[in-house]
């Protein structure tokens, strides 16, 4: 069973499945975008995730949504993502996927 299959929320799970398939298909950039969309869905359900993951110098990088070219930002007080580049590596995509999956699994308990 792939890790995303343990996620209960259908919308989040579908996006993580899409990310996994894109990654397997050799499209890590598309996978990263799907992970970001999944993370925004999680923020809708657990709003404290937004503040917790907004990048700040005094926060420890390891504990937050990865900062490898996709940045969680506040746009008119709403959570969103800005992308520093179009290309992402497979390792970056995997990191975004596993961080988002872990967050979903932890929050659902």
């Amino acid at each position: 069973m792939a890790r995303y299959e343990q996620v209960k929320d259908e919308g989040v799970r579908a996006l993580l499945e899409q990310a996994t398939n894109e990654m397997r298909g050799g499209a890590p950039a598309v996978a990263v975008h799907a992970c970001c969309d999944a993370f925004l869905l999680l923020i809708e359900q657990y709003p404290d995730l937004f503040e917790e993951n907004l990048p700040a110098d005094e926060k420890i990088h390891h504990q937050q949504f990865p900062r490898f070219g996709a940045r969680l930002v506040s746009v008119a007080d709403q959570p969103g993502f800005e992308f520093d580049r179009e290309r992402f590596s497979m390792g970056e995509a995997i990191t975004y996927l596993d961080f988002t999956t872990d967050t979903a699994l932890k929050r659902q308990g």
């Binding site: 005094e58 390891h62 490898f68 590596s89 497979m90 995997i94």
Partner: protein
Amino acid sequence: MKFGLFYELQLPRPLDGETWDPDAERRLIEEMFEQVELADRLGYHYVFFVEHHFLEEYAHSTAPEIMLAGLARTTKQIRLGHGVVQMPPLVNHPARVAERISSLDLISGGRVEFGTGEGASDAELGGYNVDRTLKKSMWEEGTRECLRMMSETPYPGYDGDHFSMPERNVIPKPIQKPHPPVWVAASRRETTLLAARFGIGSMGFGFETPEETAVRVDEYYRLIREECFPIGKAINPGLFVLNQFMAAETDEEAVRRSADGPGFFSYSLGYYSTTRGTQKDAAGVPLISQHHAGVTNIHRQFAALPQEEKDGRTQLKEAKLMTAEEIAAAEPENEMAKALFRAARSGSAIGTTDTIRENIKRYEDAHTDIMVFNAQCGARKHEHIMEAIQRFGEDVLPEFSERHETVHRPWREQQLAGVPFEINSSI
């Protein structure tokens, strides 16, 4: 479970002077040679050296390839590990890494473990102008191409995001085919999962408990079986855990000799970590922002702390990595805080050999492949480290080594049955 030693080559500044005496770094290296040569004679399986840059006092192991090359000629059997080579091409060009790893493999008779990583702190990444947001991509590209250079004749050339080079035959080639076992530094949990997906070993620097290790082992081997697409030409399934270490005749004496070594390790790690560090002055200003290269005495800052701060709790609270409730419970939930906390306080391999045997057995039961000891840290004495290496090597290591062959190896073979990739692993 197999065992190894782990070296940052820590060198705290003297408390009664401004800087080290002129012979301090040479002495540190000479003592390390004696320690590793003793471990080699006693049958320890591995030694790993970090590669860090500019992190005064915390890590003077800036050129691990030199240390390992020396040890290749003065030891017989111990495997020689990079823990890790920083792979962003701005720090180490992949072709130079391939040349050095292969050369080391040749002069050591095929004993190299190739640990890879991204670099962590701004102090070192900034020193080489590595953009933090690109470091993972740089690691991946550098590692993948480096492995091709070691195993392809000729290397056909590459035009990538972070480096380019024309067709060349990168020589020499390593003894271990297609290349030495590959590892990645896994400070964050996702990197362990990444390691499994890429078919490489995971170097766990988080001081995990046996229970956490058991979960991680299960998940890691499942991903190796089901979701692996190797970054190299052969896979190296394996997990190691890092542990604080000091053995002596009594538990009390071991704790005394361990001194503030783990505390200093954690303090100086936190001092340099990430962008702002976790250590702050009374006004809440991060100490790293006041760091004066070549001058600041981190050891003196550490020594002046009350004991309850030496174990890291107060700083972690101020950095908002621990809550008052967590401190009361003596265990933070935040993963980074937990690692620093445990680095300062972990005592599972500190004590008599009986105590250590009992404590680390739980890691063996969790199917840990390798336990690596952080023996040289802080201001510990060389003779105490030597005695600890000897005591453990004579009293404990042989029985674990025997069970590694009779119990762990069959378990591993079962885990890896049906995996369709070539395996090159020393475990």
